[in-house]
């Protein structure tokens, strides 16, 4: 819950953006982002909301950590798991509709 995940905006419909996270596309809401967001921008996503537009000049440095984490295929890794959970849109535990 501490770590936001950056992704690239590929479409915008009102206050809802479609954001690409390394090939996974998710809906991210723009209600609280601090600057106007356009297609092609990167945003920092946190529990379904963009909390920051990241300047393009600085995105490379921001993406590197996540690329390293996602390249790792250890399913038990906590940090990579948190990032995957944010992206996949599932919680840390499987949803149980009981």
């Amino acid at each position: 819950m501490c770590l936001g995940v950056p992704g690239k905006v590929v479409a915008i419909d009102g206050n809802c953006a479609t954001v690409d996270f390394w090939g996974v596309r998710r809906q991210v809401l723009l209600d609280v982002v601090d600057e106007p967001v356009a297609v092609g921008d990167y945003v920092l996503n946190h529990v379904g909301y963009a909390i920051r537009r990241i300047p393009e000049s600085e995105i490379g440095e921001t993406l590197a950590l996540f690329e390293q984490l996602l390249a790792q295929d250890d399913a038990a890794d906590l940090m990579a798991g948190d990032v995957r959970s944010e992206i996949a849109g599932t919680g840390a535990a499987p949803d149980d509709e009981s």
Binding site: V32, R52, A92, D95
Partner: protein, 381 residues
């Protein structure tokens, strides 16, 4: 789950800039020597910082005298026992509970939400605040969003409230606000912290300016840092420079995500919906202004007002005996480490957690259990 050798992790670490990483490791050694005290303790307040420190074996590269402590930075762990009890009691009263996944196994006084679920209570794991709204619309029955987390997550709760909730959805807020707890920990004599590494993404919301008053009051430096191993090393180097120079101030080492004023729009959402009130953080202390509760204007959405929460029904059970030996509170206050706990890795494991710090992926104990974050390995760089 095995704990890899952190020294090997550092050797194998694919820093994007190994020369810079090594230079910063050397700078930490030089600065610690210049400070000249046998122990220099600094604290970070973020589970993701601890994950990165432990995962990338950074502690193994720190000089022996440098003690980097994780403070109350796990939002799940610091959710207080009575707050979990409220969720459990509501669930046992037949209300649907929607909450973030890590909350399920966090212990209440007697039961966790997972225990209640095993007894048939209706608990739903969500990933985003918006899913609580969708769940309520789908079910058409009373749903309570048990909303936990720091300001980053509280902003999302505020956003769904401002958009308008379905009539059958209410909010049980256990949200916490980080800046006030730093004041409490800074004043704990046992902790003896000489500086803070502030969490980059929470500061994205608040801005780094929020720490200026803290620095003024406590004469302790604060450095805002990102989550890359290089970001963390750079943050620590800057923090030790400030400690050495004895001129406490705030330095922002994460400008690509953090500005002085922060995200004003998010702050506006946050303070329109929430008001800060004093309350306990699990195992740590009463933190003035550390809890976020709904403003009166949204009182009709507050689960604490809408339901009679029957906590007494939980007290028919005896609390688990092992929990009496748990030292999560002292660990989160930075007074002790998991290595000081008699249960750590024995009676208390990620599979069978006794305390909150072993439950969450952002809890110190679970992180140490996975990565082996033991600080005694200092001085090998």
């Amino acid at each position: 789950m095995t704990s890899p050798d952190p020294r090997a992790a550092f050797r194998e670490l694919k820093f994007r800039d190994p020369v810079r990483a090594q230079a910063m490791v050397e700078a930490l050694g030089r600065l610690t020597t210049e400070i000249g005290r046998p122990r220099v303790s600094v604290m970070h307040v973020c589970g993701s910082h601890e994950q990165a420190i432990a995962k990338f074996g950074l502690r193994a590269t720190f000089p022996r005298a440098l003690n980097v402590i994780m403070g109350p930075g796990c939002p799940v762990c610091i959710t207080d026992t009575p707050e979990v009890d409220e969720g459990v009691a509501l669930a046992r009263q037949g209300v649907h509970i929607a909450t973030y996944g890590d909350m399920l196994r966090v212990p209440g006084t007697v039961l966790s939400l997972a225990d209640a679920q095993a007894d048939g209570a209706k608990i739903h794991v969500i990933y985003s605040a918006g899913q609580a709204v969708e769940l309520a619309q789908r079910l058409g029955e009373p749903v309570v969003f048990f909303a936990t987390g720091f300001e980053t997550t509280a902003v999302a709760t505020a956003a769904i409230i401002l958009k308008g909730l379905p009539d059958n959805l209410s909010v049980l807020s256990a949200h916490k606000y980080i800046p006030p707890v730093m004041e409490i920990v800074a004043e704990m004599p046992e902790t003896a912290v000489e500086g803070f590494l502030a969490a980059g993404h929470a500061a994205t919301i608040t801005g780094w300016g929020v720490f200026e008053a803290f620095v003024e009051r406590h004469r302790l430096p604060v450095v805002v840092a990102g989550f890359e191993p290089l970001d963390i090393l750079a943050g620590l180097v800057k923090l030790l420079e400030l400690v050495r120079d004895g001129e406490p101030r705030v330095v922002n080492m994460y400008p690509r995500c953090v500005t002085k004023d922060g995200n004003l729009r998010a702050q506006e959402h946050l303070w329109r919906v929430f008001r800060p009130v004093g309350g306990r953080w699990r195992g740590i202390a009463h933190v003035p202004n550390g809890n976020l509760r709904l403003q009166d204007a949204y009182g009709h959405l507050d689960a604490r007002r809408r339901f009679t929460i029957d906590l007494a029904s939980l007290w028919d059970y005896a609390p688990p005996a092992l929990a009496q030996s748990c030292i999560c509170g002292d660990i989160m206050a930075g007074i002790k480490s998991p290595a000081d706990c008699t249960l750590f890795g024995k009676e208390c494991t990620p599979e069978r957690p006794v305390g909150a710090c072993m439950v969450s992926s952002e809890g110190t104990c679970k992180i140490w259990q996975q990565y082996g974050g033991h600080p005694d390995l200092g001085g090998i760089a």
